[in-house]
């Protein structure tokens, strides 16, 4: 995937996230997000600092342009960017960094990619739901919301993988 293509896809998915945030209110138990997968798929060569800045900008954009508390998405998304290298190293191994290659389903396998996606989404949702509840919601509600949101967001995020992390051989 060319650099320019990725960033175009990134912006388009950001718009998609805005639509989801503004119009997808089926139930309070489900918070649908594709922000973690977007950050996870930022090219490795960007580095952690760059990824964190992009994540902050992305989160603030969503916060500003959608209904919600300003800073909340950024607060949850920056840790995903910070731990992104750790997750990638843990799931795919350190060779990707040595070769400066981005991961893809075709290269690394669906299971590993799904695992990395799951971990980053989980990290994001734990922080988001915890901060959104602000200690006012019971644990069972937060737990249920986390499980439902994680399931829904994971499925939607998998669908975006084809755009963000396509087969490099194509």
């Amino acid at each position: 995937m060319k650099r320019g293509d990725f960033w175009i896809a990134y912006v388009l998915l950001l718009v998609a996230q805005l639509l989801l945030s503004n119009y997808f209110h089926v139930t309070p138990y489900i918070f649908l997000t594709i922000l973690p997968v977007m950050v996870l798929c930022i090219p490795i060569r960007v580095g952690t600092t760059g990824a964190m800045l992009i994540a902050a900008l992305t989160g603030l954009t969503v916060d500003y342009l959608s209904e919600g508390v300003l800073g909340l998405n950024a607060l949850a998304l920056i840790p995903v960017a910070y731990f992104r290298n750790g997750i990638i190293g843990l799931v795919f191994g350190r060779e990707l960094f040595a070769r400066k290659e981005d991961f893809s389903v075709e290269r690394c396998g669906f299971g590993k990619v799904a695992m990395a996606l799951f971990l980053s989404t989980l990290l994001f949702l734990v922080i988001y739901i915890w901060a959104d509840g602000a200690g006012t919601r019971p644990l069972w509600f937060n737990g249920l919301r986390l499980a439902a949101s994680l399931g829904a967001s994971f499925v939607v995020s998998l669908l975006t993988l084809g755009v963000l992390a396509p087969d490099p051989r194509k």
Binding site: T48, T49, L60, V69, L72, L75
Partner: protein
């Protein structure tokens, strides 16, 4: 290369913290709920930090605290000594009342007592300069303690009731039979009332008093409670007596001396 990696990690961490703090600041400025939540959390955190720092500060001021406590302890000990002196004076005033006419009562304090021998003794802090004489009894409110055997200038040596060499005259109940009370030699609080005539009946639980038949002790000092009995040689009863006196805690005693002792002994 490795140092550069560490620096890069530190820089990333610093940026991460700065970005998160900035986001948290944004969140708290834009939502009352989150503002309260963060404030509550920060107060709890500060409370923990301050508590820990106070603990550390207290640890380093322990030396001064100890010095202060020692001074306080010293002062309290001085006050206690004064109070004990006043208490002793008060005991002297109250015990020298004429509760046993014909007897001279002198308060004393036990300075040494033995309890684990067959011939036990005690030493009191009153001697012949205080008017103490040989052949005087030693009592407390709980009964007889012993008999004075030797007297020095400021101290007196007495045979304890827990001594096979002494016996005292005692009776059961107000009008019961009299006998000789001696220590059983086994238990610290058990004595035997011997030579009680068979015609005198008693009930277990009856109180045993000094009879007043001896010259050493005034009558009616309660000594203990009668228990089981057995007939000796078909002629007398031997009754087990549980003593009131706890020899383990005896400290303040009264020396009783019969004013007519010498006169009666002369007969």
């Amino acid at each position: 290369m490795r140092g550069r990696g560490i620096l890069s990690s530190i820089a990333n961490l610093v940026i991460f913290i700065l970005l998160e703090v900035a986001c948290l600041h944004l969140v708290t400025n834009n939502a009352a709920l989150q503002r309260t939540w963060v404030a509550r959390g920060s107060h709890a955190f500060m409370g923990t930090v301050w508590g820990a720092s106070e603990s550390v500060r207290h640890y380093f001021t322990l030396s001064a605290e100890n010095k202060k406590l020692v001074e306080e302890n010293n002062e309290l000990q001085q006050q206690l000594a004064k109070a004990q002196h006043r208490l002793r004076q008060a005991r002297i005033d109250t015990t020298q009342t004429d509760t046993h006419p014909g007897y001279t009562l002198t308060p004393a304090e036990v300075v040494k007592i033995s309890r684990n021998k067959q011939h036990n003794y005690l030493i009191i802090n009153r001697g012949f300069e205080d008017g103490i004489q040989e052949k005087s009894g030693i009592v407390t409110s709980k009964g007889v303690v012993g008999i004075i055997d030797a007297v020095s200038e400021h101290h007196a040596f007495a045979l304890s009731l827990q001594n096979h060499d002494i016996s005292i005259s005692a009776r059961i109940g107000n009008e019961g039979g009299s006998g000789i009370l001696v220590w059983d030699g086994i238990h610290s609080n058990v004595a035997l009332l011997k030579e009680v005539p068979l015609q005198y009946h008693y009930q277990p639980g009856d109180t045993v008093f000094t009879s007043g038949h001896s010259l050493l002790f005034p009558p009616d000092i309660p000594l203990g409670v009668a228990g089981e009995s057995r007939v000796i040689n078909g002629a007398t009863n031997e009754i087990t007596v549980t003593l009131f006196q706890d020899f383990g805690s005896v400290r303040y005693v009264t020396v009783v001396h019969n004013d007519s002792f010498d006169e009666i002994e002369a007969f």
